[in-house]
């Protein structure tokens, strides 16, 4: 297993007077699901955006698959899939049309059976495939976006609050999907404020508070990271 698919070393980000990220370090290995956990305003999305190249760090480096974000952002973008907090593809297009269009923008050609297979894999109900996306639920939109990532064969996934706004069943389904993707070799970096969900799906959790990593939790032999432990650390922080 490659250890350094995603690496943050001493990342610092400032907006005007405010230090939003303060010497953040972590690395994510291939096939690993890493969750960056933190309260509102902790700097989670900012971390994610520095990896996507939409925010430039003040100091420190961010690398993806060995490529530096500041230098090789174009090559990185070919390799990563990003799911924003509210995935909104085109409302005027159907699920399949959305996928085809975004693939064509990335200059990728996929056959209809390939697309259908990907949609089956993310378990998007067949009846929705040819309906305009404007009446998809958030879960369905997310599935479509993940199907797109699969078809793009993106080895790295960046997910921003993927489970917020999903119902419990959808969350379970989503977590199972992420687990299978990781088992197949995808590297998943997600940011979330959902302690329980993060413990369910992540191999490792970094606790982010006020722009600093204040704790790392790892799944050892158990099936999940210990929710109690993480929860205790999380609430201790938010009560300060």
């Amino acid at each position: 297993m490659q250890k350094d698919m995603i690496v943050a070393s001493s990342l610092c980000v400032r907006f005007a007077q405010q230090t939003v990220l303060d010497k953040v370090n972590f690395n994510v290995g291939q096939g690993e699901v890493f969750a960056l956990l933190g309260g509102n305003g902790a700097g989670k999305s900012t971390t994610l955006k520095t990896f996507l190249g939409t925010i430039a760090p003040l100091s420190g480096t961010a690398t993806v698959m060995g490529m530096s974000v500041s230098k090789d952002i174009d090559s990185i973008r070919q390799k990563v899939a990003y799911l924003p907090e509210s995935v909104m593809l085109y409302g005027h297009l159907t699920g399949i049309e959305n996928i085809k269009y975004f693939l064509s923008l990335a200059d990728i050609e996929k056959s209809a059976p390939d697309i259908e297979q990907a949609l089956m894999r993310v378990a998007l109900q067949k009846s929705a495939w040819c309906r305009p996306m404007s009446n998809y639920s958030k879960g369905m939109r997310q599935k479509t976006a993940i199907a797109l990532a699969l078809l793009r064969e993106a080895p790295v996934l960046f997910l921003d609050e993927p489970t917020s706004g999903l119902d419990p069943n959808a969350i379970d389904e989503f977590n199972r999907l992420i687990a299978t993707l990781a088992a197949d070799g995808a590297t998943v970096f997600m940011v979330t404020h959902d302690v329980y969900g993060a413990c369910q799906v992540a191999h490792r959790i970094g606790l982010l508070d006020n722009g600093k990593i204040v704790g790392m939790f790892e799944r050892k032999d158990q099936a999940h990271i210990d929710t109690e432990e993480v929860h205790a650390a999380f609430s201790a922080r938010s009560q300060q």
Binding site: T54, Y90, H92, F102, S104, L105, A106, F158
Partner: protein
């Protein structure tokens, strides 16, 4: 298919599925089409009317019985100018100046409309001519279609996905640009049809294709403005507000400011003032109807010496006719002086107003369009000059008939009694003095040369758009 083509195709799919944009495109295209057709019918009607009037005016003139020649000078007649073929799209100054002139002795009349109905019609339609639609309303339609072309993707977050997926922002913007341009070109369709029609009707192909090319540049410019504004803004509403304000400034305010500052920079005396000055000058000339006016004393002396006689009665020519010629000549000189001065002032003003084409593409296309179509002030002035030349020749031919074919004695005694009046006439055969008036459009070369600088203004705007789009691409990336 390339990424650019994909984006263009999707833009069209979006317009098709969200009925609003499609509706605007259809309305815009229909409106220009309808206005083109209405204007063509209007013009055709006017042209028939004109032909009819021209013929009947001519026939009436020729049918006049034996008369005193000076009565014919006052009878006068009409000349009409056939409008240029492209004026069905671009009536230009024709909409305000009129295309017919009444020619008579001692007067330079202003041009007017062939008949009252048309006059009211023209003013009613002058605000909704195809050129107005193309120059002012089509940009608004392009704004309505395109203001959200990029902001909508920003609001939906799809732009973010595309960027993080590594799309080339130039490809994205070009794809959207081509889509917007194609919808704009659709609204140019009636113009293209009219241009083909004009070519068939004898207009130079170089002219009609330049005409269309000018409007294409204009569409390119507006699509660029709309896209760039949409690309640098974050919200649909902001993009819309900015574009509508820009539209008001570029399409409405600046052209207005252009013409009013032209009037301020190069003021021309009011018509009343000018008329007064002309009157004052003319008064010094003496009355051409009165051969005993002291103003003609010198003329009389010269003639008496020349023919070696003592009294005007003994001259072999009719002195009254000579005076009429002499005074018409002097009077025309003065009138022409004032007319030339006025035309010069009008041209100066037009030239200043046209410089606003560097500030707004609307003025640039307006100048270009009028000059290419041959409906500009320059053409109108040539019409005035040619009509004036015709008037002068026709009046002087009659005055010559007066001098040569009517005896001084009969002329001088014409008011004594009915018989004397009858005697003071010349044969109706002398009325064949009207020469055919056919006003030729400016040559293609003249029109192209005149409009070159305004083509340059349009190209300048295109260059500006490229810079603007480059700026937008940098902002997004």
């Amino acid at each position: 298919m390339s990424v650019i083509q994909q984006v263009t195709r999707d833009e069209w799919r979006f317009w098709h599925r969200t009925k609003l944009a499609a509706t605007i495109i259809i309305i815009g295209t229909l409106l220009t089409l309808v206005s083109g057709v209405v204007n063509t019918l209007e013009m055709q009607h006017a042209s028939h009317e004109r032909e009819h009037l021209q013929q009947s005016a001519q026939a009436q003139f020729l049918e006049q019985p034996d008369r005193h020649p000076h009565r014919m000078v006052h009878y006068g007649h009409y000349v009409f100018r056939t409008p240029s073929a492209l004026s069905i799209i671009e009536p230009g100054v024709d909409a305000f100046t009129g295309t017919s002139i009444f020619l008579e002795g001692h007067k330079q009349n202003t041009a007017m409309f062939a008949d009252q109905r048309q006059a009211s019609g023209m003013t009613r339609f002058s605000s909704l001519t195809p050129s107005f639609l193309l120059q002012v309303l089509v940009p608004l339609f392009i704004i309505l279609i395109g203001y959200a072309s990029v902001t909508r993707e920003k609001e939906a977050g799809t732009l973010n996905i595309m960027i993080t997926q590594g799309i080339n922002v130039w490809h994205l913007l070009l794809g959207k640009y081509f889509a917007l341009v194609s919808s704009g070109l659709l609204m140019l369709l009636p113009l293209i049809v009219a241009a083909v029609w004009a070519s068939i009707n004898g207009e130079s192909a170089l002219i009609t294709s330049s005409f269309v090319a000018g409007y294409i540049l204009y569409i390119l410019v507006w699509c660029g403005i709309v896209l760039a504004v949409s690309a640098v803004n974050q919200k649909n509403s902001a993009s819309f507000a900015i574009l509508v304000s820009l539209w008001i400034v570029l399409c409405i305010l600046l052209p207005r400011i252009g013409s009013s500052s032209a009037a301020a920079i190069a003021p021309s005396p009011s018509k009343l003032e000018a008329d007064f000055a002309v009157k004052a000058e003319l008064r010094k000339l003496g009355d051409g109807h009165d051969a005993s006016d002291p103003a003609f004393e010198q003329l009389k002396k010269n003639l008496l010496t020349k023919y070696n006689v003592d009294k005007v009665e003994d001259l072999p020519i009719n002195f009254r006719g000579t005076v009429a010629q002499y005074s018409e000549n002097k009077l025309t000189e003065i009138l022409n002086q004032f007319a030339e001065k006025r035309m010069q002032e009008e041209l100066e003003q037009a030239y200043i107003a046209r410089q606003f084409g560097w500030l707004t593409p609307t003025t640039a296309i307006r100048s270009f369009s009028m000059l290419i179509a041959g409906t500009s002030l320059e053409t109108h002035h040539r019409f005035l000059r040619e009509a004036e030349k015709l008037r002068f020749d026709f009046v002087q031919s009659l005055n010559k008939v007066h001098q040569d074919n009517l005896s001084y004695e009969a002329d001088a005694n014409r008011n004594k009694n009915a018989d004397a009046t009858k005697a003071a006439r010349v044969d109706a055969a002398n009325w064949q003095v009207l020469s055919e008036f056919s006003f030729k459009p400016d040559t293609a070369q003249t029109r192209l040369l005149r409009s070159a600088i305004y083509a340059l203004q349009l190209l300048f705007w295109c260059g500006l758009i490229v810079l603007l789009l480059r700026f937008a691409v940098r902002r997004i990336s």
